[in-house]
Symmetry: C2
Subunit: 218 residues, 2 copies
Amino acid sequence: MNIPIVQEILSANDEIARENRAVFAQHQLFVVNMMASPGAGKTSLILATIKHLPPDIAPGVIEGDLASSIDADTIAAHNVPVVQINTGGNCHLDAPQIKAALPYLPLDQIKLLFIENVGNLICPAGFDLGANLSLVIASVPEGHDKPYKYPGIFAQADVVVLNKADMIDVFAFDVEYFQRGIAMVNPTVPLFLVSCRTGQGIADWTSWLQHTTQCRTT
Amino acid sequence: MNIPIVQEILSANDEIARENRAVFAQHQLFVVNMMASPGAGKTSLILATIKHLPPDIAPGVIEGDLASSIDADTIAAHNVPVVQINTGGNCHLDAPQIKAALPYLPLDQIKLLFIENVGNLICPAGFDLGANLSLVIASVPEGHDKPYKYPGIFAQADVVVLNKADMIDVFAFDVEYFQRGIAMVNPTVPLFLVSCRTGQGIADWTSWLQHTTQCRTT
């Protein structure tokens, strides 16, 4: 009896995700859905990426959190247009929340929209937001076994960023084991090792993102 | 129309949680529900705690993961009775899953049962498993803002452990800010700073847990 209702929710979500996708296309806006555990460095990666982007790729941000506007305040301090969504107790963003946030962003002035999903390696994977790119961020202190334990989210990633890579030795993080875990569910997904703290790897990642953004919106 | 169905699920869960609680009491078993982000160190804390416990407090473990038996294998290698629950895609353990796992544990030989919930700072908070103690583990690399962003799980914690405390300086982690965030939703909850890697703080934490276990089961 529950399954049809869940399907209804998902198909209603997918319908609005399609509408969002059409709005993004109309505004030539490239949209990244960022998914990660709490504290993996989603906001830090947004800031590090924005710093490296050329000025013609104007960024915007939608922040998703259960509560607080801590991340939106951080983004706003860098003069980037940002909207905060507080989900209450909800463990993921959904397409209707994104649709509701869009009127608060200057869509014609933005080229690249980061959607920072709720910190969660499970639930966000099930909900299409209408984004062009699914980015999964892992971080070294979480451990190299995450792709084996949370295969669903790695399976649907278009790109994976491993943050806090300056801590690989400190946490005895086995990059090859981590990569094999991703390859089991997603053999061709690109992986970037970065440290938002030291700047390591950010240029390569940003250059890839910039290229991908330009290929898909032109 | 959805809310009554969710309530049905929750009240069915609560009913079975009550049954679990009765089984635990009957076997004089103290049960800890461990909740944390992916990679905060739940399995490491179980192992570090077990190592410090006196031999008369025999431990057992239920491991909850979306997929894999990595953590259960680690526990089993230490000759501790363990059952692995794979939730499929589910973002939390529930009381029926615990009930189903109990026949696979030597309940009369165990005094302290650790239930390692799915790595998730949101969903596990909503589901009573029948445990005696709700333990929330945070870790330093996740950042000091977690209580502000995920207040629900901190609000219902009986005790909080901050792991990877040897990294406080490296990650510029502000312990007072973290504590203030917890105090906003849970003013009297005890907090222990530990490092499972270096052993820092484990003796104090284990001594508190041992005392709590003995007070509640005698």
